[in-house]
Amino acid sequence: MSQDRFDDLVTVHHGEVFRYLLRVTGRGADADDLSQEVFLRAFKAFGALAEDANVRGWLLTIATNQARNHFRSEGRRKRSYEAVADAGSRESPRGPQDENVRREEREQVAAVIATLPSRQRLAFTLRKFHDLEYRDIGEMLKCSKDTARAHVFQAFRKIRRAVSRSEKNPAEARR
C-alpha cells in the first residue's frame, strides 16, 4: 500500500467528510472524533480497496456507518439535541439587517436538520449538501433508492414546516 496515496486521499476528502459529520451530528467535537475514526478505519482497509473504487463514496459510506453507530447511543443523541438548542439560542452578531436575517435563517435550518430522525438527516445531508445520487444513498443506508428519496422529501417537509411555524411565531424558533 502506498502511504502517499493515502495522504493524498486525506488531503482531497477530509474536508468533505468532516463537514458531512458536522452537519449530521451538529457538534464540532463529534465531527472531529468521528472523522478521525473514519480515516483510521479507512487506512486499515485501504490496502484491500480496488484501484478504481469510488473513494469518495467509500469514505462517505464509512462516515455514514460511524454516524449511525454514534446516533445509537442515547446519551449522545441527547447531547446533540442540546447542541441544537444552543445553536438556536445563539445571538447573531450585529451587522447589516439582511445578512443577519439570512444568517438566522441558515442557523435555524441547520438546527432543524439536527433534530431530524437519523436516517432522514443522513439522507437529506448526503443529497442536499453532498449531491449524492439516491441509489448511492440507498446503498449507504441499506434501503432502496425510493426510500432514500422519501427520506429526503420528508426531511424537507419537516424543515419547511418548522420554518413556517417560526414565521408565524418567532419565539418558537428560539425555544
Binding site: 465531527a31 472523522s35 441558515r106 435550518v109
Partner: protein, 312 residues
C-alpha cells in the same frame, strides 16, 4: 387547501428541490399559475432550497485543526500497525507479523486462528512481501535455508534487557546450541541465567531469533514457548542437531556433537582431553564440522576432529 392542491404537494417539493421531471414541472407550473397559495408555497420552498445552497458552501472552521490532528493520529497508527499472515507449516500454524520497521512477530499459533498482541493494531496482509517471508520460513523448516536474515523490529520485547538477550541469541549460528548460562556470560551478566531463560521464553520472534538453540547447562532441552519441548526438539532436528530422550527428559546428544569453548579458535571432539569441564556454561555445540568451520573455527590440534571425526 383543496384536493388539487394536496395532490400537487409532492410535485411542488420536487420542483423546489430541483428534482422534478419536465412533465411534473409543467404540471406544477400550470397549477401555481391559478393557485396563489401554492405559488407562494413554492416560492418559500425555493427560498429554503437557496438557504441549503448557502449552507452547503459555508466552510467549517474546525476542519483544518481536525485534519492536522488526523495526520498526527495516522502517523501514530502507522507505527502501531502489525500486518500479519498465518502460514501452515510442518510444525503447525505460524504467524509472521511485521511493522513499518521490520518483522516483529514470529509465533507458533497452536490452536489459535490469529495472534493476540496487546497495544498493536493487527491487520491480515495478503501482499507479495509476505509471500517471500512465508516461502523463506518454509524453506528454513524444510532444512533448505540456514539464515532468516530479516530486518527485525524488537519493540515487542518487554525490556532493554530482553532486547539485549534476543540480540545476543541472534548470533548463535545455525546448527549449533549453547546454554542459557553461556548467553548470560556473553552478556556480561553471568549470574542472570534465569533472567535469560525468562527473556527467551517470551521471544516475540521465534526461529528468527533462534531461542531453540539455547538449552540447559546439563544438556537438557528445558523449555520452549512455555513447555513445548517437543517442538524445540523438532526445530533442532531441522538443523541436524541430535537429541535423545533419557530418562524421559529430552536432551542434546553431546557425544555426537563438536564442542567449542568460550572464544577459542578451535573446535574439538567431545572426548578431547583439552576440554575443561562438563558443564555447557561456556561451551557451544555444533552438529557438524562444516557448521563449526563456517563460523571460522579450526580443528583442535590435540583431538584432531578433522582426521578423527565423530563416528556417525
Amino acid at each position: 387547501m383543496n384536493q388539487r392542491c394536496r395532490k400537487i404537494q409532492e410535485g411542488l417539493l420536487a420542483v423546489a428541490l430541483q428534482e422534478a421531471t419536465a412533465r411534473m414541472r409543467d404540471h406544477v407550473q400550470a397549477h401555481v399559475a391559478v393557485c396563489e397559495a401554492c405559488r407562494s408555497e413554492l416560492e418559500r420552498c425555493r427560498d429554503l432550497d437557496d438557504v441549503m445552497t448557502a449552507l452547503k458552501v459555508e466552510p467549517a472552521v474546525a476542519e483544518v485543526g481536525s485534519r492536522d490532528r488526523l495526520r498526527v493520529s495516522l502517523i501514530d497508527l502507522r507505527g502501531r500497525i502489525l500486518r500479519y499472515r498465518v502460514f501452515e507449516s510442518p510444525l503447525g500454524r505460524i504467524c509472521v507479523g511485521r511493522t513499518e520497521l521490520g518483522v516483529a512477530l514470529v509465533t507458533f499459533l497452536g490452536r489459535a486462528r490469529s495472534p493476540r498482541v496487546p497495544g498493536l493494531e493487527l491487520m491480515e496482509d495478503g501482499s507479495q512481501e509476505f509471500e517471500r517471508l512465508g516461502s523463506e520460513l518454509l524453506d528454513y523448516l524444510h532444512g533448505k535455508r540456514a539464515v532468516l536474515d530479516w530486518q527485525l523490529d524488537l519493540r515487542l520485547a518487554k525490556s532493554d534487557f530482553q532486547r539485549t538477550v534476543l540480540e545476543t541469541t541472534g548470533r548463535i549460528p545455525y546448527g549449533a546450541v549453547t546454554s542459557y548460562a553461556s548467553v548470560a556470560r556473553e552478556l556480561g551478566r553471568p549470574k542472570a541465567t534465569r533472567a535469560v531463560a525468562q527473556a527467551l521464553r517470551n521471544n516475540p520472534v521465534s526461529l528468527v531469533v533462534p531461542c531453540h538453540r539455547v538449552i540447559g547447562a546439563n544438556g537438557a532441552l528445558t523449555g520452549y514457548a512455555g513447555n513445548r519441548v517437543g517442538l524445540k526438539r523438532r526445530i533442532l532436528a531441522v538443523e541436524g542437531i541430535p537429541t535423545v530422550t533419557k530418562p524421559g527428559v529430552p536432551r542434546i546428544r553431546r557425544a555426537a556433537m563438536y564442542h567449542h569453548v568460550g572464544h577459542e579458535e578451535a573446535y574439538c571432539v567431545p572426548t578431547c582431553p583439552g576440554l575443561p569441564e562438563r558443564s555447557l556454561a561456556r561451551i557451544t555445540l555444533f552438529a557438524t564440522r562444516a557448521h563449526a568451520e563456517s563460523c571460522g573455527l579450526s580443528p583442535c590440534r590435540v583431538c584432531r576432529p578433522d582426521t578423527h571425526p565423530i563416528a556417525g
